[in-house]
Structure formats: structure tokens, C-alpha cells
Amino acid sequence: MDIISNLLIPIVNLDLLLLIAVGTFAGIYVGAIPGLSVTMAVSILISFTFSWEVYPALALMIGIYMGGVYGGSRTAILLNIPGAPSAIATALDGFPMAQQGRAGEAIGIVTVVSFIGGFLGIIALALFAPFLSDFAIGFQPRDFMLLAIMGILLVGSLSGDSLVKGVFAGALGIGIGAVGMDPLTVQDRFVFGIPDLRGGISFVAVMIGLFGVSETLAQLHSIHTPAVRQKITNIVPSWAKVRKHLPLGLQTSTIGTVVGALPGTGGDIAALMAYDHAQRVTRNPEVPFGKGAIEGLVAPETANNAAVGGAFIPMMTLGIPGDAVTAIMIGALFIHGLNPGPMLMIEQPDMFWFIVSSLTLANIFMLIFGLTGIRLFVRIVELPRTVLLPVIMVLSIVGAYAINNSVTDVYWMLGFGVLGYFMRLYGYPLAPIILGVILSRLLDDNWRRAIISERDDFGAMMMGIFTSPLSLSLFLAVVLIVATSTPWWKRWRARKAGVVASQGQKP
């Protein structure tokens, strides 16, 4: 009974419903415009919604998140420029369809399958998270530590040039998170005698710098790329077409949910894995992949929206973010004095069901806006970026300033913006930094708890890991992630593939 009344919170409160609608609408825009990302929008919004209650702030962010993941497909189809990282795979078949004059058909099918994927992800969240949180109560500190390491490694190995750059970025993030007074011993860490640093670096400034400023600086390179117009008709897809692709959509939604639920990895990686899966299982596509195959749209778009619900699973049950956006939301909850993790699920179940219900509403709004507001959304993409980028910069500066009313935070934002800009240019992934910053405290606390309970005996702690099935599987996962990213492993795989190929050629 409680669950139902909690689920109804955003429906009966008109202001919350409106915020979700506005958020979803804005999210589609944010996702569609190259250079505006959901991570950027949500990190700026943390600061602006600082004075709000938790629910309205979450409602707006959830709407933006859901809408933004979907919105990226618009520009991928129409301009061949993915509006968001999660739409990279969508451009592969979406843009060829637009070239053949089938942009409306492509957008229609993408909208419907995004809704289906999003819905399945939310169902998975509602079903599995409560069980997982009961289970998570029994997690030892060492398990949380291993999970945090696993998340940072996972996102580090799957994004960017190489695992080494990803690990570097993750370690840098943990380091940034450690700056300031150690909460346990009151000892200064990385303070360098600067009193301002004792309170730590504001993570909002770090995030706005990394995702807002560095992105706008990078966009300056392509500021004069013109937009193209295309007439769009015939958008609502027939039920027969949707049904035909439903089996594939169910498979790729599952991939999306699982990838989303893994700590660290989100919609961008889910979409690429789903596209790869679709290529392998589709025997006879009507149109080849890369030339406008509908399967090539269904797979990434179901997966990236399914990953949204999936990403909330570790966030709500363990306090470990499923992707960069949920990492920022954890930060937002911290600011509102909440501590996401197994205890939050038990002490405040209303929060969990509110999130489930808000996600569902955002998903429905996404379907409605996606199918009706199409002309409007095409127009916005043509907004001159020479004006848009400076406006984003002003919003970033205000966002960084307003969180503590401090100009120092603006300098931090600029510093991390410039650092992030160079890291982007030279192939370093940025998402592990954010994950590191958010998980730094959790990692440090749990490491110390784990090692203190073994009286500073590292061997005893490893013994504990090897004798607990859960700890052992997490440990093996960490080892596997590292091992599969080494050049030796790749060489071994290549040699094995070579042997199989040469055996296959023999009569």
C-alpha cells in the first residue's frame, strides 16, 4: 500500500508532474544539441536547485536524464553528428536512412523503441533493486571497496584510447576527492598550505569544468559547421513494424539494463554493445548494416534508454553510481544531506519509489514529445552555436559560483575545464574522473574499515577476500577487467582467432 502511495507522489503533485515534463522536454533539446550533454546540464542544475526540496530537484534531473539520452538520436539521424555520446551507434544507420529521405520513419521507430527500452529498464529497477538492497546489507567494507575499484576500472577500460589512460583518470579523480581535511584523523591531505583547500575542492566546480567548460572549448573547433534542413513526414511507425523488431529490442534492452547496472558504465557503452549484438544475431537484414538497417536503430536506442533504469540500481542499492549522470545525482543527494546506499533504501523507501515513478512518467513524456514536437526539435538544432556556446559558458560560471558564493570555485571550474579540454584532445576519458571523485570517500573509508578490522594485516584481508564467495567474485572481476585490457591478452586472442580461421579454411 505504501508503495502505491509513494508511486503516486509525482502524479498527484502537479508541480512535480510539471517539472518532470519540463525536464524531459528540456532534456530532449539538451540531448539533441551537439555540445550540450546531460552530464553538463545535470551538474549545472545541482547548483541551481540547491535551495529546492529534494523531490522537485530530482524530478527535474530525472526528466532531463531520460529525455537527453533519447534526444541525442535526433542529430545523429538528421546531421550525422551524435548529439550525445549514447547516440554514436544510432548515426551509423540513422543518417543513411535520412539520406534516403526516410528521416521521419527513422525518428518514429527510434522514439517508440526508446520508450520500450526505457520502460524495461525501469521495470528491472523496480524488481531487482529492493532484493539487491536486502542483499547489500550484508556487504563487507572490502566488498564496497572492490565494487568501487571495479566501477572505475570498467568505465576506464571501455572508454577512451586505453585502459592505462582510463586508470590514470580514475586515480586522478580519487586524488581530487581526497583533497582537504581527512574526516577521520583531521589531517590535511594535498592542501599545500592553502587554507581554502582544507574544505576540499567543490565537486560541482570539478564537474562543470570537466563536462561544461571543456566541452564548449572543444566545440569551438567546429563552430561554423552548418545545419541542414529536412522535411519530415510519416513519423508514427506501424505496429507491425514495431512488433517485427520487438524480439531484438527485448534482447538489446536486457543488454542495456545490465550494462547500465554495472557500476560506472552507462548508455554510451550499452548502445555500442547492443549494436554489435544486433549485427551478430540479425541473419538477413532487409537493408545491410550501415546503409540504413532498422535493426541498427532498434538495438542502440533500446539499450541506451534501458541503461537509464539500470544505472539507478547500483546507485540506489549500493551508493555506487551506474554512470556519470547517476554519479552527479549521488552528489546532489549528498548536498541535500542524504547518503545513498543500502540504508537509504530501507530508511526512505519513498525516495526509491518516487524515482521509479518519475522515471516512468519521464519515459511517457518522452514518447509524447518525441512523436508530436518534431518540427520544433528540428528548428532548435539550427540555433546559432556562436551565440549558444557563450550562453552555456555564462550558465557554467554562474553554476560554479552559486554553489558556495565563491569566485574561487569559478577558477577551479576554469582550471578543470582547461585540463579536461587537453585530456579530451589527447584521448583520456573524463568519466572515470567523476566516478573517482564521487567514490573517493567511499573507497577510502571502506579500505580503512576493512584493513583496521584485520588489524592492519594485508594478508589477513586477502584471506578474507578469498574465503567469501562474494568478495572473491568481485576480486576476480577486477582481475579480469585488468587482464583483458592488457596487450598480452589481445595478442593471445588474435593468435587464437588466427588459428580458428586457418583451421576453418582447411577442407
Binding site: 554514436i88 580519487i174 573547433h221 549494436y275 557563450p390 569566485v407 587537453f422 589527447y426 583496521i452 592492519d456
Partner: protein
């Protein structure tokens, strides 16, 4: 060419290949990263040294040690790559627009307290829009004043974010407007 042809090829490769050549400045950046990592490692050692595994400096030392090892491997890899002669620092790494923008943001931060939010933002947007779009001053002024007004209204009314007033007496303006109704 039909009118729906692509404006520019975009990066849509599902698995981005590592850049074959070394980009300009990459070596310098990676050396700077290594030096910074080593410095941070030294600083982390200063927190509590090798006192205990549960000491406050243990995790910082581990992370900065990992950073240093990674930076060495990254530097080695970038030394192995041949430098990409087709790219230049001025065009592909630090074009004028990026430098100007960084300087403008720093200038904004400096002027925010003394001048206040409204004049600083109008000036910033005016100069940036003029510099990037090369449209007429009148157009840029209209766009910047209009945008700042919209942002200000949204901030004050919806988000209740307070920005520095500076030289504009915002409080008096608001009370003057509200006294009209």
C-alpha cells in the same frame, strides 16, 4: 548532391581507433602529467608516510603511485608514436578562439564581484558573440542583453540564486517594479 547531403563527416566509428600519429603538444602534456603525478606522490608520502596501511595517507599514496606508473606507460607509448605532421598547435590544439575564451572566462571571474552579475554577463556575451559570430554590434548587443535578462529572471524567480549585485542596484529596481503593481 542532394540537399540532404552531410554537412561534414562526423566521428561515428563505433570503436574509436587510437590516433595513429602523435598530436602536437601530446608529448609536452604527457610529460607535464608525469611530473604532476610524481609531485603529488611526494606530497601524498608527506601525509603519513609508510606509517600504517590504515593511515590517512595510504589511499592517496596508492592512487598517486598508480597515476605515476600510468603516466610513465602513457609517455612511453606516446614516444613510440610518430608525430603527426599534418596537425599544428595553432589550428588543431590551441586555436585563437579557445585561448580567447579561456581568457574571457578568467576575466569574467575577476570582474564578477566588483561589477556585478548583470554588467559582467552582458559584456561577456557581447564580446564573445561578436568575436565568434562576426555579426553586427547591434545584433550582438540585442542578443546579449536579451539573454542575460532571461537568465536573470529565471535565476531570481525559479531557482532563487543570488548573484553579486555590483554596481547595479537590483534590489531597488525590483522594489520599484513591484511598487508599480
Amino acid at each position: 548532391m542532394t540537399p540532404t547531403q552531410p554537412p561534414a563527416p562526423a566521428a561515428v566509428d563505433p570503436i574509436p581507433e587510437p590516433a595513429p600519429g602523435r598530436r602536437p603538444g601530446e608529448l609536452v602534456f604527457n610529460i607535464a602529467i608525469l611530473l604532476a603525478s610524481l609531485f603529488l606522490l611526494y606530497s601524498a608520502y608527506g601525509i603519513s608516510g609508510f606509517e600504517a596501511l590504515s593511515a590517512p595517507g595510504a589511499v592517496p599514496m596508492a592512487t598517486t603511485a598508480i597515476m605515476s606508473v600510468c603516466a610513465i606507460i602513457i609517455l612511453r607509448d606516446s614516444l613510440r608514436k610518430r608525430s603527426d605532421t599534418a596537425q599544428t598547435v595553432g589550428r588543431d590544439i590551441l586555436p585563437l578562439s579557445v585561448i580567447v575564451t579561456i581568457a574571457m572566462i578568467a576575466g569574467y571571474a575577476l570582474a564578477l564581484r566588483p561589477l556585478g552579475f548583470l554588467p559582467t554577463s552582458v559584456l561577456f556575451l557581447l564580446i564573445m558573440a561578436r568575436f565568434l559570430s562576426k555579426r553586427s554590434w547591434g545584433f550582438c548587443l540585442a542578443v546579449s542583453v536579451g539573454t542575460v535578462l532571461v537568465i536573470w529572471i529565471i535565476f531570481r524567480l525559479i531557482f532563487s540564486v543570488l548573484m553579486p549585485q555590483g554596481i547595479v542596484p537590483e534590489g531597488r529596481i525590483i522594489s520599484a517594479i513591484s511598487s508599480l503593481f
